[in-house]
């Protein structure tokens, strides 16, 4: 069976401005809307909790990227795998991990998705095949390639999607991973959330080829660029890519053009971007775009929106409560999980003075 897409053509996908209902079912639309809103409110709450010092370390939010996340994740089966970078809270939520466990991870609690060991940048949920947030730029890409290799080795039907930021396309691991995936015909969808910035540096300043999807040419790989503020456009492009992976066993590179509404991390005052740019963000806010469409087509009423809003807020509040109630990991467990196979002299017997 073949996806019929072929492995070579690179094209720019333009936003289809047709009616939402011609592009997705009501149920899908409502699901996407609610998931996007959940991510938005969860991340806003995360920022609030960070200010209250319930969360520490680096903390990168998905504000503005909700359509890229929800659109991408909508294409996956439970058997599929996802790898991300450190900006991953929304992916974990969209993959179905409970908001309480995600918030508990941020609080460093025992019920966190990584048992409090990982924090914001290192979430993991083995049951959901959420294969980790990774904090070394580009580091997740070889790993994702490797899961693709395992799928191919065992001749399984699953696919891997591997998320990265725009600035990540400049590091060596990107190059090596895409090359490996293509020569070995691995079912990996590499997707770039192009939010125009790697911290304060623009794509144009960092990437000699700023149309990032074109970089696939170096691997003779299928690629697309889509409007990352349009959840359906994201979903459709990712669907094509997932199908190419699943049916033709070929990798691809999908560029989702999006915006990061706030600073690089919660502590970044975002001084390097002017009011003009920020005004554009508001105009292209993916949640507002979808909400307006849903209202215009009568799929949602103001009242229904209010109801969803309250429901989502309640869910986020419950997540905070859950995280608050969860205990910290006991200090006695500090040396747990160093090794999976126990070994002689495994825990250094050094005196802890």
């Amino acid at each position: 069976m073949s996806s019929g897409i072929g492995g070579k053509k690179s094209k720019v996908e333009h936003v289809n401005r047709g009616p939402l209902e011609s592009r997705a079912s009501r149920e899908e639309l409502l699901t996407y809307y609610r998931e996007m809103l959940l991510i938005r409110r969860f991340e806003e709450k995360t920022a609030e909790m960070y200010k209250k010092a319930k969360i520490g370390g680096y903390c990168h939010l998905n504000l503005g990227e909700e359509a890229t996340i929800v659109g991408a994740m909508a294409t996956l089966e439970p058997r599929d795998y996802i790898f991300t970078n450190y900006r991953e809270h929304g992916y974990v939520l969209a993959r179905g991990s409970k908001p309480g466990n995600v918030m508990a991870e941020l609080f460093g609690k025992q019920d966190g998705v990584s048992k409090g060991r990982g924090g914001s940048m290192h979430m993991f949920d083995v049951e959901k095949h959420f294969m980790g947030g990774y904090a070394i730029v580009g580091g997740q890409l070889p790993l994702a390639t490797g899961v693709g290799l395992a799928i191919s080795y065992r001749n399984e039907d699953a696919v891997v999607i591997a998320q990265m930021g725009d600035a990540t396309t400049n590091i060596g691991a990107f190059h090596e991973s895409l090359n490996l995936a293509k020569i070995w015909h691995l079912p990996v969808v590499f997707f770039v959330v192009n939010n125009h910035y790697g911290m304060g540096t623009t794509v144009e300043k960092a990437s000699a080829q700023p149309e990032l999807y074109r970089r696939a040419a170096a691997y003779d790989m299928y690629s697309e660029r889509v409007d990352g503020n349009d959840v359906l456009a994201v979903r459709d492009a990712m669907r094509r890519a997932v199908r190419l992976a699943r049916e033709d066993k070929e990798p691809s590179l999908i560029e989702l053009v999006s915006n990061r509404l706030k600073g690089h991390s919660v502590v970044d005052p975002d001084k390097y971007r002017g009011a003009d740019i920020k005004a554009q963000f508001a105009e292209n806010d993916p949640i507002l775009l979808l909400q307006n469409g849903l209202l215009a087509e009568g799929i949602l009423s103001d009242a229904a929106i209010e109801e969803i809003e309250l429901d989502v807020e309640r869910e986020v509040d419950e997540a905070v409560d859950y995280a608050d109630a969860s205990p910290f990991p006991p200090v006695a467990e500090l040396f747990d999980h160093i090794y999976a196979t126990s070994v002689a002299n495994g825990i250094p017997s050094a005196p802890v003075y």
Partner: protein, 333 residues
Amino acid sequence: MAVTTYRQVLNETLAQEMTRDENVFLMGEEIGIFEGSYKVTAGLLDKFGPRRVRDTPIAEEGFVGAAIGAAMVGLRPVVEIMTINFIVVALDQILNHAAKIHYMFGGQTSVPMVIRTPGGGGQQLAATHSQNLEVWFAHIPGLKVVAPANPYDARGLLRTAIRDNDPVIFLEHLALYNSKGDVPDLEADDDYTIPIGVAEVKREGSDITIVSYSRMTSVALEVAEKLQGEGISCEVIDLRSLRPLDTTTIINSVKKTNRAVVLEEDWRSYGIGAEIAATLQEEAFDYLDAPVLRVASAEVPLPYSKPLEMAALAGGDQLEKAIRRSVNRRNQG
């Protein structure tokens, strides 16, 4: 003298050196418009322009290698690696090129460059973002590795590092940036430098020698101060350089105190402390009244959760216990 932060001193010293020598320029991620992830380079883009304050893509191997290349033909790049955790992808260039080019090509060219990078844990940055790793660099012939513990030393060593014709790894520490210390006023400054390869006795004492470096030196000084009240007189040696290592100063101190503890933030096994202990027992064997003890962090990928992180990191309490253990040995021997 003025009280200044470590961050501020680095910033001023970079500016001074750039003014002094047109060949000195800065490279790194987000050091320009973003002013540095830890704001060490704040204002320097405005002052010196993008030619001399060069923002790079995220490509540590590429731009560290490029800095080496530029240094080979006489420029003096000062590279910022945002945190030491990201230096690993550039390590091949440092190990196989920066450290070897002068020797391997028979002295025909040299690599006058500095790599500045902060390390350390304690900020809840979790396993991938809380590392020290200095011992890896300290192991490499051809590198010079310094780790200043206070603003005064930071200025003196950064000057020396930038003016040196060899690759210098200049280790900063996340938890030191806001720390304050006396440094000469910029106007009154006599352009002092601090030599690489020379440790400093930061506090004299007679009962035991504490050997430390970087952030842990201040922890050592606090503990020394506290124990003074109890009648334990600690000599505190700040290594300042990890390569070359000033073995003479630590050996001489131990010949006087007859006891030593090393305090380091990194993992214990195969860490900096191992070399110090090995050297001391080798060179001052007959003077040691107790084993050289090592206080270091738990050997785990540093966890995010605050209680676990705190439990893992070495600190003053452990140092105190180790000192007591060493000093109490008096009665056993």
